[in-house]
Amino acid sequence: MGQIFTGISSGLTSLANPYVLFIIFIGTVFGVVIGSLPGLTSTMGVALVVPVTFGMSPVLGLALLGAIYCSSTYAGAISAILINIPGTPANCCTLLDGYPMTKKRESGRAVALATVSSAIGGFLSIFALLFLAPPLAEIALMFGSQEYFLLAIFGISVIASLSETNMIKGLWSGALGLLLSVVGMHPLTGDFRFTMGIEELYNGLPLVIALIGLYSIPEVIGTLSGMAKMTSQATGVKGSIMGQMLEVFKHKMLLVRSTIIGIVVGIIPGAGSSIASFIAYDDAKRISRDPSAFGKGTAEGLIASETSNNAVVGGSLVPALTLGIPGNAVSAVLLGGLMVQGLRPGPALFTDNSSIVYGFIMTLFVSNLVFIPVGIFVARYGIKLIETPPTILAPLVVALAVIGTYAINMSVVEIYIMLAIGIIGYLMKTFNVPREPLVLGLVLGSMAEGELARALLLVHDDIFALIRGMLTSPLSLIIIGLTLYSLWRGIKKQFIK
């Protein structure tokens, strides 16, 4: 503990350098712009800037990367709230309540809530990184292939809760999402499935393209065909902005629970922000006094989603810094940035390079505060976009979806794929088949299949040995228990009245 406080004090001296604060500001602005544009992800934003950090001092370089990571994870909420397209996969749960709030002329309130929730989740998760890194890293090491598979199944069980109004359609949608996730090459055998001869599908269906298609095209069609009744009108982020921001603190327990979920999911390598977002959303719905309000523009849903996805930031850096195992794709790129500076991740990092590491952690605290004014500023002008007539806004959304899709892999074929998924999304919306379970299935499916295949390989394809292993592992039993409880809750609400 003494070492931690010594490190903190040396880290704080880094913040006394005005260049560090300036770099954090630059990184935050860049991250907010990148995160709020559909098609551009946090991973892309951090990866683009790593070469820029070559000539910088370690603290400056890491401060820049950390600021982009924190702000881009949050900024996807802006487009999710304003135009119903998540800026990054981490924000796909945010639109469930964020966009309905925009439809109710509460976009300013939604952005204020999302901004402060993200800041709190990110800020608290950095405390976890600072004080709990070694024991949390030990927990991360306990996860093997069977635990990952069970975690994916637990995530999938959340579908039962997400599709409360029509569980059969929701489960069908979730199964379709899982099936879409297996499009492409099998992780072990190398066989191609469901690619229809399209080369761009050999590596699977990119999640971001599916998100853009599923949410942009149906919304454009709905807006253009229902122009007699304007559905999206915004209120600005003005006036009692402080009041709107402070509303978050009426949900203290929710903030704490969602932060813990984000940290725990973040420390599990490969789990990702979108999983944390869905689990926290489901948890918030379960403990809410009014679960039926979820999906219609409730603050709790928005707060849970945004708090947890930013709490993943600190959690994902725990195994990354202490063990050299990245918690997600972004932290993997960040590790690259770390190694470019000559730092080797591992237990010795905190002792051999304490001033740099603790300096980096201190800059993460500041980053989570800086994106509040930057995000609100960007959102103010983003909200003006919503006041644009739908005959102008809708074509712009399509054009943005096209360039956003193209930006991922520079492939024109993927734009057609996005359009096809958009038509599927429109049909799903028309037939009242929920889209969120499909997204969740897409997020978790590749992890579920891949880890199941690896787990079976470890037991020489003996399924009984695998089941025995699951039933004798305490961690597996905990996850199985949570899954069964989640499924039971969904079944009880739907079928047992």
Binding site: V33, L37, L40, L48, I168, K169, L171, W172, A175, L176, L178, L179, V182, H186, L188, T189, G190, D191, R193, F194, I217, V220, I221, G222, L224, S225, G226, M227, T388, P389, P390, T391, I392, A394, P395, L396, V398, A399, L400, V402, I403, Y406, A407, M410, V412, I415, Y416, L419, I423, Y426, L427, T430, F431, N432, V433, A448, E449, L452
Partner: protein, 144 residues
Amino acid sequence: MSCHKETICSITALLISAFLTVQSFQYPAESSHFPRFLTILMTFLSVMMVFRNWKSQNTDNSSGFKSTELKTLFIVVTLTILYVLGIYYIGYFVSTTLFLVIMMRSFGHPKPFAMALAVFIFLATVYVLFVVFLGMHLPKALLI
């Protein structure tokens, strides 16, 4: 066109599930256990949807498709396909301008100045962010 929406939904789901099930059995067994399980599950769930819809048929009279939405879908999809073809053959900036103007006019936007301003701001933003800042290469075609 007056259709029972839930009937169409459940039958469409069943057809899609059946098709995907057949597809999944055409792949090697060792790489298709998971897809086969999923497609069979989807087929089972579709049958449940059909059964539930059949049971509630007398009480549920949901409205059919809205013709305005179908027309809008057709226009949006057709224009977007032509737009993407245009990017490939004409060039990104020219085809984007044409796409935006045609689509705005198709849905009755009356003010040319507002359209021109929106197109200019959008293209300028794309150029600065994607081309200059991110160094992205847009497809090379006949024009820009």
